[in-house]
């Protein structure tokens, strides 16, 4: 089956994105594929690459990045939620005339159309929020 994960809460502050990550690994372990991980609302903070974790803790940005690279997962960050929360990639940063950016590939900033596309192409859609 094809899965889409809809993540609505920030890493570290809430457990939901950890649950989503563990769920994602279990989905893949059971032989399914993940069509898309869609970050929305506070969930966009999972795409913040300026995350510095203590050495004895998991880097919650890096783990999604690693999983996406290994399993070719599409990580989409909702543009409307992201920009107002300061999650910008290089393109959006330039567009906003700013000289910093806070997210990088494989995270891809895009619109809510990607959520509906994911719904159309997935057998299962599971939301993780708080």
């Amino acid at each position: 089956m094809n899965y889409t994960l809809n993540i609505l809460s920030a890493p570290y502050s809430n457990q939901s994105s950890d649950t989503a990550y563990q769920f994602a690994k279990a989905v893949l372990a059971r032989g399914h594929s993940i069509y898309r991980v869609f970050l929305f609302g506070e969930g966009v903070y999972n795409a913040n690459h300026l995350t510095c974790s203590p050495q004895d803790e998991t880097n919650k940005f890096q783990r999604w990045s690693d999983l996406a690279h290994e399993f070719d997962i599409d990580l989409v960050v909702c543009v409307a939620s992201a920009l107002k929360r300061g999650i910008l990639d290089q393109t959006e940063s330039t567009r906003a005339d700013l000289n910093q950016y806070s997210t990088i590939p494989p995270f891809d900033i895009s619109g809510l159309g990607q959520l509906y596309d994911a719904i159309a192409h997935s057998d299962r859609v599971v939301s993780f929020g708080r």
Binding site: Y3, Q15, S16, Q22, R124, V125, V126, S127
Partner: protein, 99 residues
């Protein structure tokens, strides 16, 4: 056929209460994260909601263990791990998350 996924403590939030009221017979409820604290008040919940006996109730084992709540698991609750969580989503075509 719906899998209801609840992640809030029932003594802090109305998420579980709301879920139970809207769930239909044959649906399942999976308690994850802080919702597993419902195990500590299971008797109360089953008395309050007749409907619970018509629903399959599951709890995520890793969250139960993390919170030291294992001794409150009874046969009314089935423990599943993360792969079991996925298996539930395979079985139930739609999921509804309550938070």
């Amino acid at each position: 056929m719906t899998l209801h996924i609840v992640n809030r403590s029932p003594t802090q939030s109305d998420a579980l209460d709301s879920c139970i009221r809207r769930a239909q017979p044959g649906n399942a409820i999976l308690l994850i994260e802080d919702a597993i604290y419902a195990l500590l008040i299971l008797e109360q919940l089953f008395s309050k909601y007749q409907k619970l006996s018509q629903l399959e109730i599951y709890a995520l084992a890793e969250d139960v263990t993390a919170r030291g709540a294992s001794q409150w698991c009874t046969e009314q609750i089935r423990l599943v791990d993360y792969q079991g969580f996925v298996a539930l989503t395979e079985h139930y075509p739609s999921s509804l998350s309550w938070y």
